[in-house]
Amino acid sequence: MKKITEQEAALPNSLPRPEGEEEQLLRIWYAPTGWRWFTAVNNTTVGLLYLGAAFVFFVLAGLVALVMRTQLAVPENHLVSQDLYNQLFTVHGTTMMFLFAVPAMEALGVLLLPQMLAARDLPFPRLSAFAIWAYIIGGGVFFSTIFYDLAPKGGWFMYPPLTLTEYSPGDNADFWLLGIGFIEISAIAGAIEIIVGILRTRPPGMSLDKLPIFGWSMLVFAGMIVVAFPAVILATMFLEIERSFSWPFFTAAGGGDPLLWQHLFWFFGHPEVYIIFLPAAGLVSMIVPTMARTPLVGYKLIVVALIATGFFSFGLWVHHMFATGIPSLSLAFFSAASMAVAVPSGIQVFAWIATIASAKGRFQLNTPSLFVLGMLFIFTVGGLTGVMVAMVPFDWQAHDTHFIVAHLHYVLVGGMVFPLFATFYYWAPMVSTRMLSERLGKWSFWLMFIGFNLTFLHMHITGLIGMPRRVWTYSEASGWGPYNFVSTVGAYIIGAGVLVFIIDMMRNFRVGKHGMSNPWQAGTLEWLPTDVYSTRSIPHVTSLEPLWDQPNLAEQVEAGQHYLPNAPTGWRETIVTSPIEAKPQYVIQMLGPGWMHFFAAVFTAACFLLLTIKVVVPALVCGVLAIVCFLVWAWELDKGPAKGPIDIGAGFKLPVYVTGPVGHGWWAMVILMLVAGSLYFAYLFSYLYTWTVSPGVWPSDAASLPRLQWPVVSAVLFIASAAFFAVAKGTLPEPGEKSLLTPLLVLLGALLGVFAVYMEIWCQWQTGLRPTESSYGALVYMAGVLDGELIFAVLIMSLFVIARHFTGKLDRVRFASLENTNLLIYYTVVQALIGLFMIHGFPRII
């Protein structure tokens, strides 16, 4: 292995590049147009689509907010009905949180990260494109429910018992549950892509201590999604199952507890605030040094602050449940975490201020800077009121009043919307051939800044004098009228600011093959010259701000004098580097444009939405078609080692195919297992929590439980299933040969897993336990459902592996598909064994 200093010496390679090299890159990385545009996977194309869609949802949710503000402008107003108002605030909150904030940040990840990391693309381009189309279709259908009186009415948090069938009949709540569950899956797909992309596709030399802060923030953001989102997916599964099949997870009469929903929802919901804020903070940390013409003060401290905020934010969920009667000491733990999280947030704010101060007057006051300064003011006010509501006694006074509405808008608009607009103005030239207008930008900023504070600053007082949230109207005698009228005027001024921005975009935003050439004189790699293939060659990085510290880097990269200036395999490729030191490991052969990810998204969305309106058979047909699309897509993923090793420059000859812990597919599968593990952890929490609330519905003696022999048989079958897969890997034939033993072992392994799940459900059924009779029964059968889902995935993957074997695409060298299947079955078996211990062991212990 070469030492890094040898590559530094070998680059730039000043030898002339062969003719036709760039033309080949252009041909391979073409971005489809016309009706084939739907097949595009280039990160700039799908990233812009993603960001554009998120912005459309922002505007739509903003218009909904204007209707609400108009309704509240004067007392006793009847502009909209009470029922429609309930739908409006539910759709506004849901759209802003699920369809705008998180997707906008993921979109920026897809759009900016490959450029910042000088990668040709993220490692799974079709996964990004799938996530985007799934989000657009699912989000579009969800939002449109407001026009058909089908929108949910339970608030963006959808608390039961209000959202149970008895109190929310019809399909409205189901649209939220299935729609949002589906969109969460899309977000998780994006998060997997982002984690693997940041850790494995950095340019050689960009060790973790040289990763741009936006990369760190997106890494923490994606890690938080992996841990937080499964909790709300499980919660939506519980609620939808209760609504559809009467399994009483949340019904007190059946031993369930509505507060279980709040625990699961806020375990996702509070980190969600930081999931939104951290990437935005990362963006600010990129903009401030450029505008201050000086490196960011406290890089290492900001990295620490991002990580610490990510962790501490998970200890805050009961922060939203202070008024639910939880024991005081429990509240104190969460109150402590609420204060602890303020420290790392403060570190970032002080680092930005210190960077601006260290510019000694060189700080450029342009539109991106104005939005950053606006963010600093607004977010700090939101943070201070956050510390206030972290104090339990104060929270009891302010809970569910307009004080909270003001607080959350200061946090979210300050922490995310203003940085996003700074981002629009700062990074627009990366993809647009023209800058956005400074004049219109400043108008937009001042309108939004003044409008925002006019709307929300005195709303703190409106709340403190008693106005509750989510009221449709109020009496004149309350005295809230003047405050609300001013808020409404402010809301329209915000709208005017956004309108000015839209006009600016229409006048000046022109997407071209080439963006502008580093108009801000920034130091990071996204400002290298690019084309559809991203950068002409992949640079060797030696500092945090390579464009400031490495002279002529842009010219060298554009002349193809760094790594991989060509396409030796004839496919889309990028370099995979080691996760800490960023040393070159191998070259990924990536998929180009295709229809399968698009149709997979269409059919998956159709399956979920048809299920929502209880059209079961067509829904199942769409589900099957979606699986077929996934399999056809996956068939092309594993291209094998035939075209390697290849020379990427500076003496590196890298393989184009690896398996095991070095491979990016292995990493994606491990992250997927973390998602599944997080979901199962939420299930175990739900089981134990429900027991603490209703121990009376748990079996009081072992006689009412299945005999121990049944879980033992089930456990043995699970372990045997994993063993069959492990042995199958050892029986793989040499390339070009076939072995009947391998597919036989794989099939038997999968069938043993299926039988093990069946056995577990069957033995419970034999005792007379039914999932509808109590929360205990519901949770017992839910364990089978969660294991069954994974075993179903293993079964499908096994059939895929067997098909690959018979077509000569699975052997001792080329076995990534079997390796990933094995990882999933190992995880499934561990999960199932823990579940068996919990279901059969815990009631015997208590």
């Binding site: 292995m1 070469k2 030492k3 890094i4 850790l199 060790s207 973790l208 201590d209 290492k300 401290l301 990295v303 620490v304 990580i307 610490a308 962790f311 501490f312 998970f314 200890g315 008024a323 009667g325 939880i326 024991p327 005081s328 000491l329 429990s330 104190a332 733990f333 109150s335 402590a336 975490a337 204060m339 602890a340 420290v343 790392p344 009891w396 080691s578 996760p579 800490i580 030191e581 040393k583 070159p584 490991q585 191998y586 390697g644 090793p645 290849i646 020379d647 003496g651 590196f652 000859k653 890298l654 393989p655 690896v658 812990p661 070095v662 134990l688 929590y689 603490t692 121990p695 208590i846």
Partner: protein, 126 residues
Amino acid sequence: MATSKQVFSDKFIGIALLSLAGPLIWVVHFAVVYGVQHVACVALLNNADFWVATSIIVMTVVALLALLALILKPDILQRLSRNRIQEERIIVFLSGVMRTLAFLSILGVLWSGISLFFLPACGSVT
């Protein structure tokens, strides 16, 4: 064409877990004190106060000692890293991240732990 000598691997998971040891200790402390308090108050009824108090004190002391060890003795990460990472600068960076995270985690653990001295173990003031 022969491949470069070997595929470089820097044992990411071990180094990452050690670098994040501070907040991970905070997570374990938080989960245990909240979990023990919640379960003990339901299951033990009259004896709960003693067990809740004891377990919170023990867990807090253990967590604080572990966090202090990370700050004062970062050798374990440095030893692991030196075998896997060639550049000293990266080891210093990761070690600094580990120690600062451990320091912030001390605040979280301490704030949670001391609340025991001001509030009843199982009662609610609502």
